[in-house]
Amino acid sequence: MNILNLLIIIPVLTVIGIVFTKDFKGARVAAAVGMTLQLITAVILVISFFAQRKAGITGEFLFLSDFTWFKTLNIHYSVGVDGIAVWMLLLASIVVFAGIFASWQVEYLAREFFISLILLATGVFGFFISLDLFTMFLFYELAVIPMYLLIGIWGSGPKEYSAMKLTLMLMGGSALLVVGLLGLYFYSSAAGPVTFNLLELSKISFPLAMQRFFFPFLFVGFGILGALFPLHTWSPDGHSSAPTAVSMLHAGVLMKLGGYGCMRVAMFLLPEAAQEMSWIFLILATISIVYGAFGAIWQKDLKYINAYSSVSHCGLVLFALLMMNRTSMNGAVIQMISHGLMTALFFALIGMIYGRTHTRNIDQMGGLMNVIPFLSVAYVIAGLASLGLPGLSGFVAEMTIFIGSFQHPDTFHRVATIIATTSIVVTAVYILRVVGKLLLGQIREKEYLEFPDAKWYERISVVVLILPIAIIGFYPSYLSSTLLDALNPIIERLTAML
């Protein structure tokens, strides 16, 4: 039995299990058990993957398995992982695990909530393990649709509007993607039967005119998910309305699908066009970085601040990918992982704080450090990770990106890098502004004194997210070196024409 199939089967079984539970308590226990198993499976996957690597198995993708499910169109259920995907899977399982515990107190339609949440997770896992682009796309859609329900039903604020906006914009991205994927599919006939298989597609060198035409579709299609300026506006509204676990999963993992897809599909399969057109998207990504950071300064809603910060950080991912050298792309992947963890942590904490204060407006809060020290300290840690403090993961990612990008021989790219570095100051400004207003200073309301500090499930959720942030921050070289190996094929293909 291929361990990758387990990653799909466990969530599906969990969903079935939840259907048979009686009330919200049963549902959350079932979800927690399922996702714990999922986390364990993911850890085992990572360990066995690198054990195989160490044993000298050098295939680009391991744990391959293949099964045709639509013969006429040559669509397969084809799975396999490389050194990037295993880490993304681990990230996803950590975030989902933490997300379940962060939404421990959902009581309204809890079963349906957990079912949707886990379906969403299934889509994410399926996306990362798929090698067949059609199946990958299918899983991607599977992730988007529960999102609509989750925000629309369990959200807060203008939830219908936000859910609609988010879903429509992501669907718009999907529409572009379909065009791009079909382009790949039909042009693959140059080398045998038409196929969606990533590995086979990667052996084909597509004609340049075709690449030029389809690259923007694919890149923008995934870029919308990765919050590429100016198509990022779903992010603030969507995140602020979404329930905690959904924000976590969405910002933490789903936005990474965008960056991952840009790299794995758009740039990997259409390398010449990527080289040729990178400058346009590089400008947009640079704007995202600075613009997102400045946008965050002025916001008052905690989730808005974090959403804009995500725009900035995810812009950094795309920025680094477009620099197209090993170091910067390595940094991009580390940034995906790091941002996934810390933004999930942020949203988890915001959800927990919101659950106590019932407001997210930072002007109305203050002095929370005195009453809920655990959550506040965790918030400070998340903030420090976000502004790139050494010893936490954000620093590793940012520095790898900046140094990698600055190695680019072209002056334009280096100037863009310098512009991007300014974000570290702006980030510091908005993070400290939030920390100062929210946690420090005097307590605003008397009732705040009554707040209980973190419950056990909240602690689990927070600790599970902080640990990897600190581990990456302290000991990045293992992650970094495995990623460097895994990036080789992509880099080779990208630079083959130069």
């Binding site: 906006k165 916001q299 804009y308 620093f395 140094i403 890098t417």
Partner: protein, 637 residues
Amino acid sequence: MNYSLTILILLIPFATFLFNGLVGMKFKPIVSGLIGTIGLGVITLLAYLTAWQYFFVDGMVGGSFPKVIAMSMEWLRLTDALRIQIGILLDPISVMMLVVITTVSFMVHIYSLGYMKGEKGFERFFSFLSLFSFSMLGLVIATNIFQMYIFWELVGVSSFLLIGFYYSKDSAVAASKKAFIVTRFADLGFLIGILLLSYFTQTFDFKVLTGTDQSIFAQTAGVSFLGMSVMTWAALLIFMGGAGKSAMFPLHIWLPDAMEGPTPVSALIHAATMVVAGVFLVARMFPVFYFQAPDALTVISYVGGFTSLFAAAIACTQYDIKRVLAFSTLSQIGYMMLALGVSGYGGHEGVGYMASMFHLFNHAMFKALLFLGAGSIIHAVHSNVMQDMGGLRKYLPITHITFLIACLTIAGVPFLSAFFSKDEILVAAYEHNKLLFAVEFLVAGLTAFYMFRLYFNIFWGKETHYHHTPHESPKTMTIPLMILALGSVFAGYIPFSKLVTSDSMPFESHMDFGIAIPSVLIGLTGILIAWILYKKESKIPERISKSLGGFYQAVYHKFYIDEVYMFITKKIIFNCIARPVAWFDRHIVDGTMNGIGWITVTSSRNIKGMQSGNLPQYGMVFVLSAIILVLIFSFLI
């Protein structure tokens, strides 16, 4: 002989940080305090042993002190050439800094046991102190510029945490925020400098960068930007980082506000150790500056000179004793920067470099002593404004004596430590640039004046009526004062020119009495003026300040630099950038998206009128369309 134990210098404070931070609250507060203090005691011992071994046991190799890599491990591989190492580099300045940091930090730890007693968050305080010690030690023993940057950031954050220690106080929160953001802004320059440097040289390593092989800079030849060579840019940007940490003009604004932190923190971080990180950085990179970017050195010397004059002037007008000391710190760091700026390389040419390090060493001792003394005073009278004090010499005898020693030292009274180092600095300045020499000469007088203004106002002057009779601080506080006082007196007799020099080769330095005597005289003049004005209560100071009018006001308000910054950040950055960006995002970008949605909705709303539910209408449309289709198909095609 190896230095494998030096690794403990990093590990112990980190361990105590984790212990106090994670489980410290489970024990009695004093446990955390003792653990932190003992840990620091151990590494102080280690630092002294290392220094002893480095300077006196292993000694020189081939006529100069070698750069010893005691330990090095790869932390992160960025490219094949650029790898971030975490390691321990021992050379004269890093060993000297080890001694300075551990000494002051140890004293501050002991002092804090008494000063912070009973404060909420005692264990947090000690855990932050450990974090700071860890970061600062990591900074000085960095083997490469990137490791330095890593610890540089950590130092910044521990400073932020410690300034904001009283987090319920809004002013403390604001000050910590300001400190962090200003230094962060400076660090941006540092980072870009590192990027430039590493791009052209393909190395982070200090040993390579400051080594004799200049071929690594071959790439930079002829590359220039806006009329300055790329190395000048890199050097200036790196100096910008240093200027931020060392609070050089115009990035000095955070330091006076940073006095919101607990006084031991001010002593440790904002007087003795962290703020000299910038000086240390320039010293560390000195060969790069000297050979590749001499223009940058000139800039450094002028910035240092200006800051020292500027800060000394402000110090004369302030009433908050900690702020006076803060401005005095600025002024003294300006001295050190200037000394580096005017220094040459090698032998007697490098006297400025040597003097700067020498002054750094002495300054750490006497400024820590001043701050701790101030802490002791504040502890006694629960205020840090000069007007609330007076005649304290009777109540606080030990504090009085040690404070007086520190004041005398900083004023440059002969045979106390600062006399020697200041003299060297003046010599270096005199040889290099007469204008800067004149400035420094003036500043020497101002320094003596404002220090004794402080001294007389606190310990002499009119007897203020106190609510509680002030009493001398406990032993945990006075013992560090006494030890530091000894340091202030005798540190000057360390033969620095034999140990810490620009090219690690010893040279003979000697007193230049032509400069020493006038500088002592101007110092004494300053003291004398302060004596006349402040020994007894008098109206003269008030009249003088009145007669100076607008100028006095400008100085008192620190030349309105803070206001300018507030204007820039609040008005320009917040209102003119962030706000429009937020608006733009919500209304233009998002508006476009919503507009697309609106168009869809509106058009569908208009179309839905056709779906009227009116059967005859449907029938009509159906038949009409059928007729039209028949027409088209049978007659047109």
